[in-house]
């Protein structure tokens, strides 16, 4: 517990909340940041579009975590647990995306092309499957 709070009653909590204006301030900031993120969406920052949007989202997320979820006050093991989870996610994300972004280096011919689906599946998306196309043709020929 980061809060050193003396309480002689073992059965009932006895804390004073943060002033309401803290929460109103966080709410107003979140509203303002939402407005900013929607407003800047109309501009094209090229490769920076997503990083900028993620930066604004992360500022919003930090406000929620620190004040609404009270991690700033509670801290301690709660913060360790949360940042450990975040760290595991980074271990998952970085090598995966590293692999994706360096494929061109390893295989200049195919580069970043990754085929994850066979031709014709899902229907209507990649055109008709070769086998189905042949069948349809055969039907047309038969009808004639």
């Amino acid at each position: 517990m980061a809060q050193h709070h003396h309480n002689d009653n073992p059965h009932e909590l006895d804390h004073d909340p943060l002033p309401a204006k803290v929460y109103v301030g966080v709410l107003a900031s979140l509203g303002l940041l939402t407005f900013i993120t929607v407003w800047i969406a109309q501009f094209d920052f090229g490769v920076w579009t997503v990083p900028i949007a993620m930066l604004v989202a992360t500022i919003k997320a930090s406000l929620v975590i620190m004040y609404f979820m009270n991690l700033k006050q509670d801290g301690g093991m709660n913060a360790v647990a949360f940042f450990a989870g975040l760290f595991f996610l980074v271990i998952f994300a970085i090598p995966t995306l590293w692999d994706r972004e360096t494929r061109d280096v390893l295989d200049p011919d195919r580069g970043g092309v990754v085929e994850h689906t066979r031709a014709g599946f899902p229907p209507q998306v990649n055109g008709t499957a070769p086998a189905a196309a042949e069948k349809a043709e055969a039907k047309e020929v038969a009808a004639e």
């Binding site: 073992p10 059965h11 709410l27 604004v56 929620v64 989870g85």
Partner: protein, 223 residues
Amino acid sequence: MSQQVAVSPDKVIRHRVGHHWPHVELELSGAKLGFWIFLCTELLMFGGLFVAYTYFRSLYPETFSEAHKTLSIPLGTLNTGVLIVSSFTVVMAIRSAMLNQRKAMLGYLYATLLLAAAFMVIKLGFEWPPKFAKGTLPAAFYTYDGLAHVPKPHLFYGLYFVMTGLHGLHVVIGMGLISWLIYLGHKGVLYRGYYTPIEIVGLYWHFVDLIWIYLFPLFYLAG
């Protein structure tokens, strides 16, 4: 005491700490730590989907920048506002409980429930039906022909429906949890001496808000 604490509400069931806890403060901090660890598993579940999003987006950037235009920014923004305000009403409910203001606490909890319902109505009532009608759906259900000029647009809708759908499921579960808090509030269990359940459901609800804070720009805005 820095702030005005109302006198104990008339009908309060005073909390007695579980026999396995030496002190109520440990009960609260233990519950919080346990829930933060649960939130880590949630973070990793959604995290996997966010990595999938990033991966496919890097494969087909033009698909994502075209397909995202079919989502409604006004409805997405409205839902963002709804969730942010509902996070605020939850912290205000905790604050009211800490000040023994039971009526205000219940008011904030009802407001939270209403906002959660509004989120689902906007999502299921206004956002999804046109997509079902147009056929902008995942995988083999995809029948829309307006995005023929970009490769594999069904991928965008697969990620959209799975990620916002899983998020929506969390909102529905949250509505159940908030209803439970309202029940406890009426029963007279929640007051200055005991508000651990609101704290924990609050953590859950803010996490649901957190996920939406990232889903909104990734799907609706960032082209």
